[in-house]
Symmetry: C2
Subunit: 874 residues, 2 copies
Amino acid sequence: MMKKWVYLFEEGNASMRELLGGKGANLAEMTNLGLPIPHGFTITTQACMDYFSNGEKINAEIIDQIEKALKVLQNQQNKIFGDVANPLLVSVRSGARASMPGMMDTILNLGLNDESVKGLAQRTNNERFAYDSYRRFIQMFSDVVMGLSKSKFEDVLQSIKKSKGYVYDYELQVEDLKYVVSEYKKFYKENLKSDFPQNPKDQLFLAIEAVFKSWNNPRAIYYRKLNDIPADWGTAVNIQAMVFGNMGQTSGTGVAFTRNPATGEKQIYGEYLINAQGEDVVAGIRTPSPIIKLKEDLENVYNEFIKIADILENHYHDMQDMEFTIENGKLYFLQTRNGKRTAQAAIEIACQMVEEGLISKEEAVLRIEPKSLDQLLHPKFSNEALKNATVIAKGLPASPGAACGRVYFNAEDAKNAHKRKEKVILVRMETSPEDIEGMHIAEGTLTAHGGMTSHAAVVARGMGAACVSGCKEVEVDEENKVMHIGQYTIAEGDYICIDGSTGCVYLGQIKTIPATITGNLEKIMTWADGFRTLKIRTNADTINDAKTAVMFGAEGIGLCRSEHMFFNENRIPEIRKMILARNVEERKVALDKLLVFQKEDYKGLFEVLEGKNVTIRLIDPPLHEFLPKGDDIKELANQMHRDYEEVLAQCESLHEFNPMMGHRGCRLCVTFPEIAQMQARAIMEAAIEVIKEKGYNIVPEIMVPLVDEVKELKFVKNIIVDEINKVFKEKNIVIKYHIGTMIETPRAALLADEIATEAEFFSFGTNDLTQMTFGLSRDDASKFLGAYYENGIYENDPFAKLDQKGVGKLIANAVKLGKQTRNDIHLGICGEHGGEPSSIEFVNKLGLDYVSCSPYRVPIARLAAAQAAIKLKK
Amino acid sequence: MMKKWVYLFEEGNASMRELLGGKGANLAEMTNLGLPIPHGFTITTQACMDYFSNGEKINAEIIDQIEKALKVLQNQQNKIFGDVANPLLVSVRSGARASMPGMMDTILNLGLNDESVKGLAQRTNNERFAYDSYRRFIQMFSDVVMGLSKSKFEDVLQSIKKSKGYVYDYELQVEDLKYVVSEYKKFYKENLKSDFPQNPKDQLFLAIEAVFKSWNNPRAIYYRKLNDIPADWGTAVNIQAMVFGNMGQTSGTGVAFTRNPATGEKQIYGEYLINAQGEDVVAGIRTPSPIIKLKEDLENVYNEFIKIADILENHYHDMQDMEFTIENGKLYFLQTRNGKRTAQAAIEIACQMVEEGLISKEEAVLRIEPKSLDQLLHPKFSNEALKNATVIAKGLPASPGAACGRVYFNAEDAKNAHKRKEKVILVRMETSPEDIEGMHIAEGTLTAHGGMTSHAAVVARGMGAACVSGCKEVEVDEENKVMHIGQYTIAEGDYICIDGSTGCVYLGQIKTIPATITGNLEKIMTWADGFRTLKIRTNADTINDAKTAVMFGAEGIGLCRSEHMFFNENRIPEIRKMILARNVEERKVALDKLLVFQKEDYKGLFEVLEGKNVTIRLIDPPLHEFLPKGDDIKELANQMHRDYEEVLAQCESLHEFNPMMGHRGCRLCVTFPEIAQMQARAIMEAAIEVIKEKGYNIVPEIMVPLVDEVKELKFVKNIIVDEINKVFKEKNIVIKYHIGTMIETPRAALLADEIATEAEFFSFGTNDLTQMTFGLSRDDASKFLGAYYENGIYENDPFAKLDQKGVGKLIANAVKLGKQTRNDIHLGICGEHGGEPSSIEFVNKLGLDYVSCSPYRVPIARLAAAQAAIKLKK
């Protein structure tokens, strides 16, 4: 049997999104709901993957099926593709399984040529419309299919508008448009050494190939990486009969959401333009009207629109993002999908829908993208500070969030500043898909043009980044890298702040305060806590971090990096003296001073945690990381009353070729047992004192890092236990404690059965485990990983998202072996991955007891753990 | 039932060496053969391990069994331990499962005290003998058991000898010895704040504990590491009734071998001293007489000795190393063991014994320690060069080998010079166990004192290092670090050469020539080749290396590190230009020049290998390794007509934090596909030309390094295959080739099933695999691995001997997965471990097809592979 590569809209439904892409599946679903959808058909995602595996050729079977579907479409529309008198025009649009707004390519008005444009003019009795469609088609086709820069076409358009004194495109007259068409074709021929293709079939297949290829364009690859979309999904292609929003004052086009995607408010929210085609709205060239104004312009159309929007939301049980076109007073829907929304909106909508009985609590919890909580948890401007701040402009509140940074006027400069560790606000006339990386690294984006559904607004909401769009007071001079707002001139590198919730733009920097968990967010988190089985701990080294994490719901500390406490100004000299000690005695003198500091630190943590588990990792980094450089060595030598040359030589002798794999972790305790003794003593003395003072039930957990071998762990453990017993004797008290290890070398994972004989708990240190499993240095990988993404070798940064296939195999093995030896071994993960949703789902499946992540990721982890538990139950 | 911790010699036999140690088991065997062995008993190795696990205490059960055995011994000897009138004296000697000459401790004459020394004098009617024994006992006990430095005791002895004008110890008179005893006791009390212990039971148990503890002294640990002896074997303790070689002119003591341990010649070979105790011979203070002279001194004793030596060799089917003592004309054997021998002797003896029908060919192959072949394969002095060399002294040919280096006069200085990459000759008056590390790193050892069985001679033969001992012309001034030989004064750092086969010492440096495989070595290697199933390849990057390896029997090249060819003076500028290219065009220009060089290199290799397999690895190291430093950057910038600052910045930008895990291996080909293209082209053009010119059947194997992921391999493979197809088209010829990969990251090993879909062969890169599995940088580990050996955490350097437990588990997994996917996948190993016998045995068991090692290790690998096959068959 022949494989089916092409589906008429009538043949599909919403459940077929893998095959038809999101857009195709929903067009089919809407068609079958009897809604006003222009006829069309979908070429499957499998056809796209076949195209790539077939050396970028569309196979004959697919071509045949496309031609057959085209014939059906001709009959349905009663028009003929390529006909001069009665031409069928189509749109060719991409549609992947997951929505990737603006990432791939679309061509409208396909089928026009020098002859059929005349036929179209005659038949519609609207010559202006016909030539407007043709000039749009030539520009889009040249850009999307042939790769000619859009800006040259824009230049032609601008220069005629300027010479005639027009402001808007719709002011262009028929003769103007004919001139534009002829200029466009001339430009096309000059650059491509051939005439603009006149055969509609050629146009069609070139366009289909262009859509296929757009699956692998750099911005699509980048978007996929950002959103964990696999490269082998492919995109479908939708061929649909054109309806025209550019036929005059009773025509138009728009986009709308069934609820407010920024706040979640239950209210139709959208924009439209009269006498325009789709891309005019999204591109943000003209600022569109709010949807409510449609009631004044075309009341019947408005009422029908509201009715259908309700049908769609009730049908999909989720907030819808819709595209529509009005052709001579008749409404058509061109797309519906579950709308992207801010985290705040997602939470509001989920809670509303539970109340409305539309969805269950489990479903509500599943509806929130855990990563998106990030937006809600970042600091806000303090009300106090806002009182003294200067509002210099106000735009549209396109995506909420408080952002402060230095201004940069293009994505490239923004990225470079980000590399220099600057905080960046990206300022653009309007954004385009090329700006996506710049927006991603920026604290926030400000645009002069574009509405609430402009590219900048949609993408920023998707990223959860602050955005103020359509800020008309802003005059951007991108070339000279400066902007003017009234009396103010703001140059590249100057500080501004933007508030995406209010649309306000401020001069200079403004103080922020931490976020809190309240209202509907608290409600969702409480539901989530009821579903999850994983415990959530935090990685915290300071009292402040610990307080924040506890406030965000951390149930303990999974990783306290004891050495981070040493970097404080008072302490660093003592750790340096300890490292540079010439013998055990000198080292002990320095350690005695550090003991006082360490004990104080641990007491603080135990007090904040009030008896919740605290896992303290013994000193881990290579010692040279603590040492001074350059002139500071001289100063240190003076302080120590020692010879500079000698101290310098000692510092230099600590240099390592590959410090990541050098003298660090428990290797430090094997060579300098005094360090482990000091740390064990500080931990236990602190715990005993807090128990006595506060009465908390504290069971300290001491974690030995970078273990390779059970004998190594045993050696260090013996040192610790001996010291602890001394403390117990001195203080005349015995308390419970646990000793465990990080599993962060492949060898430890491979031999976890042996290691479990000495370890009461394992904490998977997935950062180092990833480095060693791949043989990939986190600090060096950025130089070449880009080429890996571009070539489709890796799709994700393995340091952000756990490599389940490789590293995960080691972890699964270690879990199995560890439990073999010690049935009740306590298992957790404390690498960066501990706060990453897909990694949390993976370790939940493996049966780990907890994840530990940075304080601001605790709520994310709570939600992700709940989703993991719900999915596992299903 | 009570565990048996103590065995009378009558209760044991030679097969019980695990329990009784080598010495104890052989004493038992000899006792049961009816040979003249003083009575005694053995405390088992298990008692030693019990002592350590029991917090360094001898448990009551063991004490009880020792006391019972002691009673039996009293009855057998008709003497009473601790009796004043008729004292039983004993020796207390260590004896591990494997022979560890001089590494652990021995105490003789135990049981003497201020009273029993008088009884001994009366009973033997030999007061001189009694006090000589007592002073020896005090010195040994104080040194071995109490840790007092031997040298202070020697000073006392030397000063009285000097004051009386004596040269030898045996000239000391009774009164002198009494004075020495009182001085020794005084010194003991001053230092240890207690009297020398008078109770023989106390003496005995302190001595037993000292022997137990000696198992973990630093030199024993070092020796174990050198000889792969596990730490948990422990040592047995042998308590034996004393017989005395120091009773006068019909008494004596000696050591002998049944064949010559340096050359293998079939002839009794040994030395003895009249009126002396055991340690006098080994310590090399007096130069002893050759064994043949015993025939003149004591003919009956000599004849009996020869008879028993024959019995022992025939009984053990191996060359024996024996210790004996003559007490008043009666011969006793105190030890026999399979004698240590040089590689040359081992080969001679094995071949002789096959001819004599004593052993099979398999047994002969098993008898040769593969590592020992190293000695035979190192260069020899060229006969030509020797003609012009100056012989400045001649000593005993104690251990064969030609060695050339700078003179150092103590182990410490020698080790430091070695660290500075100097070649070292260690020159000592006589060596002691403290010198073992110095001897190990030295090219050879020269001693002024000591015979063919002195410490230096025995240890050097064990190590396979050149040694000339007992070179009387040499006057060593260790304090001033200079030696005088006749007219010559040779200071620290001056060059000399020694020839351990002739005993000659030469001034200055002498040219060497490569060794060859001939005679009995060739015979053994031919037998070995008949038994082994593993193929042996070599790691060779140059034509010279390849020639040497083929001469040594290499069956192919398993690893050609293509980048090593770039370090040549002509080529390095081109690779630098390639690296510093600012764009693909500049890079291609440089690569085109490199192509010419690479092709030439590969042609050379293909010609030498004559159709044997050649595996070429694509460029592997981080690019900055090729770049110049300091002023050389300026020069390079000039050569390239480029701005210095710019070139400098480019060089600096290539710096990496952890280059081992950075931008290297196939990652270079992912970012710079032009490099892979150039190399693939060079390989194939070279192969095609050599096929055309010489008619060899060449099937090049191209190896992609540092693969983590099958898509990565596929990406690089596609580049290579495309380029190869271009070459085929241009040359109008198609030849066979294979593409495979190194398995050197844990991830590759874990996902070997996927990787095998694209790889036709795997070569395990165990150097990197070990680094990553342990998270241990080979270049940095030496700073702390010492502490790991001392604390018994690791026993071996995992970079020298494959970590079978951890890394081996990954390899075994990869072998299984690889074969699952591709049944006929070709498997090899090309890390340092490819030439290490225990690692070869391991990979033979796993079913690998070949090992690849450095050229000089090829014969070692051939032999080790044969032994592995023979053992596996058993």
